[in-house]
């Protein structure tokens, strides 16, 4: 069976654009990108389901705070990710499997760093 990848939930308005503009698109193979209209769409259940299905981790990538096109989406997402991590902790699982980061559409270099980090840790 093929090894499952880390799922990266990307906001269409920021991190997805950053991903499209990566100078080395092969880096994207390290993760499975799921585009969301806004990080406010992410659900606790969705993140947990990803882990349940055997994905090694979840990366939640949204806009910098106060920069959400939909005003408050990323604040809600921060709360939900915190809750997921709390739930993982309660279940005795590694909280660092769920990670959140804030990228603007110009932050391709930071996305590249994150993806390289993932590749390195897998190798």
């Amino acid at each position: 069976m093929e090894k499952k990848k880390i799922v990266a939930f990307c906001c269409e308005n920021s991190s997805l654009k950053a991903a499209e503009a990566l100078s080395d698109p092969s880096l994207l193979e390290a993760v499975e990108i799921v585009a969301l209209p806004c990080l406010g769409k992410i659900e606790i259940g969705l993140v947990l389901k990803c882990l349940e299905k055997g994905h090694p981790g979840v990366l939640v990538l949204g806009c910098p705070l106060d920069n959400c096109q939909y005003l408050r989406g990323n604040y809600r997402a921060v709360k939900r990710v915190e809750r997921v991590r709390q739930l993982l902790g309660e279940a005795g699982l590694d909280e660092s499997r769920v990670r959140m980061d804030f990228l603007s559409s110009l932050d391709s270099h930071r996305l590249a760093e994150i993806l390289q980090g993932i590749k390195r840790s897998e190798a």
């Binding site: 503009a21 698109p25 806004c38 769409k41 299905k53 939909y70 005003l71 997402a77």
Partner: protein, 539 residues
């Protein structure tokens, strides 16, 4: 797949430097052809995002245009406003356009890949029914200070029926200064705003009981407590003269009787100060309540240099600039800073709390200088503060009644980079001048005009065609917990009493999915991003 893609037209924009020439566009098209995709119509423009480029594109596409249209260009080609405008002008349905960003220097192959992704997204996008929203040609303006009157005047001139609401018993200018055909409610307040853009129902508490006014849009121009800090004298908008709170004709306002004025009015205020003293000390205070933008720094530097140099010969002036951080991020700013320094402005970089107290006829500023690591106390004859530092929090009743969110300073506009000066979180409600903490008169009037134009841009369409791609609530699952109503940033959720379930209003819904993420009963779904589709992606 190929047949469906062929119905899609492609518009390439070269303004952002993404596509430098027709030759490069040719390469992109060749790469597309290589990938087995032929697009029906290609429009190559140097500037699709400008008015002229838009005209050209519309005339090209309107009659024999394709059923769907893909824009490719710099990041502005992905602007929702541009796409919606284009769709409306070319008679496409709102969802039939899509924008992709081409990065300058990415090369033809990457450009083609981006366009291909866009074509696929466009082809995969289901068609939605649309609904025609009637836009009522009446506008409610809250606050009859200079900004409110300016907005009302502009709106009347544009032909809109305008209703002016003010808490004051009388407008300072009397009824003569008011534009003709204006409906005025004095001593009234806006207590609640129901409905959505195009057909708001505003509940007004007037001295003769409650009234409901239906209107297409709302402009809020009143600041703290609904009482503007500027009062109007006759012919104000022509001459620009004002009275302060005590009725003295001056161009300036004072805060709590202290010589504290907005930066924009400082020069005039200093000019009017009595000239008895040997040295006049002028303080410029930035970052009083929050970290301020670079533009405030720019204004302060320019003003400091001017005040320091342009004093009358006999009176020496000393200008102090208090700020938390000297922001000189660009070359012109660096130049301004050098000039101000050479002119003799003293810079004080403060940390911690800034104390202001009355001393004699002036203000004493006490703070801790972070460079000298010493406590300072500077007695200023007058103090210029940026409007942000001067503003008081907005009327909480007004904020709650209209559903407009406030920022950390209590102003009726959230702190978000996507909110242009006149925009609020609620579609159809605009804010100007004191409503968002802007008390400097010239700027407030400019904002009032901008708000009137924003209303015009919305209402001039008469009807709004919206796609029913908004969040859908499953009435059977909905438990009416109102989590969605509370969490929607745009106030686009309400309760449908017939169905006994929550409901989203397509004219205000921005399809962000926050409600869907929030709903504990999982009763809300975004048609464009269904839960099933998302789960399928992570399988």
């Amino acid at each position: 797949m190929k047949e469906r893609l062929c119905e899609v037209g492609l518009a390439l924009c070269g303004c952002g430097g993404a596509l430098f020439s027709a030759a490069e566009a040719g390469k992109v098209l060749a790469a597309l052809k290589g990938a087995g995709v032929a697009v029906k119509q290609v429009l190559l423009s140097q500037s699709l995002c400008t008015a002229a480029g838009m005209e050209e594109a519309v005339s090209h596409l309107k009659d024999q245009g394709p059923a769907k249209l893909l824009f490719a260009g710099c990041s502005s080609s992905r602007r929702p406003g541009l796409l919606a405008n284009m769709a409306a002008r070319t008679c496409l349905s709102p969802g039939a356009t899509y924008g992709v960003t081409l990065r300058p220097g990415a090369g033809a192959l990457l450009h083609a890949a981006a366009i291909l992704r866009g074509l696929k997204a466009l082809a995969a996008r289901p068609a939605f029914q649309t609904r025609l929203i009637h836009l009522e040609q009446r506008v409610l303006v809250v606050g009859s200070g200079p900004a409110g009157l300016q907005s009302a005047r502009d709106l009347r001139a544009l032909g809109y029926e305008t209703v002016l609401v003010d808490q004051g018993v009388e407008t300072a200018s009397g009824s003569e200064g008011l534009p003709g055909g204006l409906i005025l409610y004095n001593g009234s307040r806006l207590a609640a705003l129901n409905g959505q853009l195009g057909s708001f129902k505003a509940l007004l508490e007037t001295p003769c009981g409650n009234r409901t006014v239906s209107c297409g849009a709302v402009v809020i121009t009143c600041g703290a407590g609904g009482v503007g800090r500027f009062e109007l004298v006759e012919g104000l908008l022509g001459s620009g003269s004002l009275t302060d709170g005590a009725g003295r004709p001056t161009g300036c306002t004072e805060l709590y009787g202290l010589p504290i004025v907005p930066l924009a009015e400082l020069a005039a205020f200093v000019g009017g100060l009595p000239r008895g003293k040997e040295t006049l000390t002028v303080g410029l205070l930035l970052d009083l309540v929050l970290d301020e933008p670079v533009s405030s720094m720019e204004e302060a530097l320019r003003l400091g240099r001017e005040l320091q140099l342009r004093g009358p010969q006999r009176i020496e002036r000393q200008v102090y600039l208090f700020c938390r951080e000297v922001k000189v991020s660009s070359l012109p700013l660096q130049g301004l800073y050098d000039e101000a320094r050479e002119a003799g402005v003293v810079f004080v970089q403060v940390e911690g709390r800034i104390g202001l107290e009355a001393e004699g006829r002036g203000v004493a500023v006490s703070c801790r200088d972070s460079v000298l690591s010493a406590e300072l106390r500077v007695l200023c004859d007058c103090l210029g503060v940026s409007p942000l530092g001067l503003s008081l929090a907005a009327d909480p009743v007004l904020a709650a009644g209209t559903g407009v969110a406030v920022d950390g300073l209590g102003q009726l506009q959230e702190n978000n980079i996507h909110l242009f000066p006149e925009l609020t979180n609620r579609p159809g409600v605009f804010v100007a001048g004191p409503g968002r903490g802007q008390y400097a008169l010239p700027q407030a009037l400019r904002e009032a005009r901008a708000a009137a134009l924003a209303v015009h841009r919305l209402l001039a369409q008469k009807h709004l065609e919206v796609e029913l791609a908004n969040a859908q609530v499953d009435a059977d699952k909905c438990a009416l917990c109102l989590a969605c109503v509370r969490s929607c940033p745009f106030k686009a959720m309400g309760v449908n009493r017939e169905k006994a379930a929550a409901e989203s209003y397509p004219e205000a819904c921005r399809r962000c999915g926050l409600c869907a993420g929030e709903c504990p009963a999982r009763a809300i779904e975004l048609p464009l991003h269904t839960d099933a589709a998302l789960l399928a992606l992570v399988d």
